[in-house]
Amino acid sequence: MDKGNKMDDQHIVTSFDEELKDLTDGLVSLGGLAQIALRNVEQSLRMNDHDLAKQTIEADKQINALQLSLEDKTFNILAKRQPMANDLRMVFSAVKVSLYLERIGDMCKGVCKRIVKGDLLNAKSPKTIDALVNLTKNVQQSLDLVLEDYAQGKAQHALDVWKSDIKIDSSYANILSAILEDIKEKPEAIEALVPLFFIARYLERIGDQATNIAEVTHFIVTGETLGDDRKMEVEDETVF
């Protein structure tokens, strides 16, 4: 075999490979937990399902614990292996990705708390609830795409996710004005309507986290940070 001209995927030190795989597997699991939390958010919103919302709040502890253990693994790899090049990018980014996912978990918990405490039905605003459910679906789509990219070590959806984040931001703005309108029309429902504000805000921020993960994945794959100029380009394209 001509070993000189072939890049071998395996490290000479097998235990290093195992540690990296363990870390990647952990991040993929964490991503899976975040996806489940977001799916639960969508269903709880749609069905006003308080039991599911409570379960989701409880499940956030698992996300936090996994995030901490991944941070610990990353720290050990840095200390023991002094990774370089693509390994360095992957290991360094693992901490960021795990934190973004943990934030998503927190925000899902936030949405679920509002569902449990406030009563969506009292808001008497099925349109806004529908809009929030749709927003959740869009955010879910983004998260699915970035996690797929991350797991495969590709950055093919980074720009799409950006574009859809801009749409997410504008749906968010629309929902806010709709809620404001509702409050003006039905001041008596204000207590039930205000939590919808928060829910919209949480969902919009979950979208931001997905975009952050897309940026990190792009960095891992290419070694370059997606420049602000590139982002501007996308924003220009998307302004109507």
């Binding site: 070993k3 000189g4 001209n5 072939k6 890049m7 071998d8 995927d9 395996q10 490290h11 000479i12 030190v13 290093f16 002094q82 990774p83 370089m84 090049a85 693509n86 390994d87 360095l88 990018r89 290419t222 070694g223 370059e224």
Partner: protein
């Protein structure tokens, strides 16, 4: 403030990947043979003035061979033949008119194992300047020895032991003595071939600190097997493999995101 013309120049430089740093050593199409066996293949490499360039690559890839081309040490190996062009400060160092002894006096070399002469600490450092007939008066020589030991970060440790044999020093001190010996001849270039491989981490850190200081006055090329060392001490890194230069670039680039898969495989420890 930059004028428009400067900006255009900068842009052009960036596009052509031309560096602002002046190249002191320019190698073009360097082939080296040991008898029938070719050890280096068409090396094109520029080494910037007053900065540290590290040469990395697996054992046997030709790093030491390349280093020895620069001070024509390969000349002393009977079967070794060097082809191609190497210029130092625009002078072709393989031109028949070149005085090899004079050339070597401009280039200091430090080896893997500290190799002080079996002489006193003082004489180790004084040897070069005396040999090259550069310093004739005892006072000047004393000053030269002190200054060289000072620059090598060794003076305070040996100033009361100047008469003792160089070999009586610790390994790390011996290596700094060899560096003092190398700089005593006022070279413009210092070549180091795995200078820390026989040293403990503290002695290594001292040498690295020294290299960092020396680069303000000398052009340094260092061969090292430690990625971390290359990353710490050098501004440029060149990766050799099987006698070829695969990639050269800013050290940060090489260790963060090299262009070539082979470089990535090597620096991440994926050599199969």
């Amino acid at each position: 403030m930059k004028l428009n013309g400067d900006l255009i120049m900068d842009e052009q430089k960036e596009q052509n990947n031309i560096r602002n740093k002046k190249s002191l050593i320019e190698c073009r199409g360097v082939d080296v043979f040991y008898g029938d066996k070719q050890a280096l293949f068409g090396i094109n490499l520029d080494i910037g003035e007053k900065e540290v360039t590290s040469l990395i690559g697996p054992s046997g890839c030709g790093k030491s061979t390349f280093l020895r081309c620069i001070n024509r040490m390969n000349d002393v190996i009977e079967i070794c033949k060097v082809e191609g062009n190497i210029k130092i400060d625009n002078e072709d160092i393989y031109h028949p008119d070149v005085d090899v002894v004079e050339l070597r006096s401009r280039i200091g070399m430090v080896f893997q194992k500290p190799n002080p002469f079996p002489k006193s600490v003082y004489d180790n450092v004084a040897y070069g300047p005396k040999l090259h007939g550069r310093i004739l008066h005892k006072d000047d020589l004393d000053a030269k020895v002190e200054k060289s030991l000072e620059r090598a970060g060794l003076w305070s440790e040996v100033k009361d032991r100047l008469g003792e044999p160089g070999t009586s020093l610790s390994g790390g001190q011996q290596q700094r003595l060899c560096i003092a010996r190398a700089i005593a001849i006022d070279p413009s270039i210092i070549l180091m071939d795995e200078p820390c491989s026989a040293l403990d981490p503290i002695a290594t850190a001292k040498i690295e600190e020294l290299i960092d200081e020396l680069k303000d006055n000398f052009t340094i090329t260092i061969v090292t097997h430690s990625m971390q060392q290359a990353a710490r001490v050098s501004q440029r890194t060149a990766f050799f493999h099987l006698g070829k230069l695969i990639e050269v670039g800013d050290t940060e680039k090489i260790f963060r995101s090299p262009d070539h898969e082979q470089t990535e495989a090597y620096v991440t420890g994926r050599y199969g």
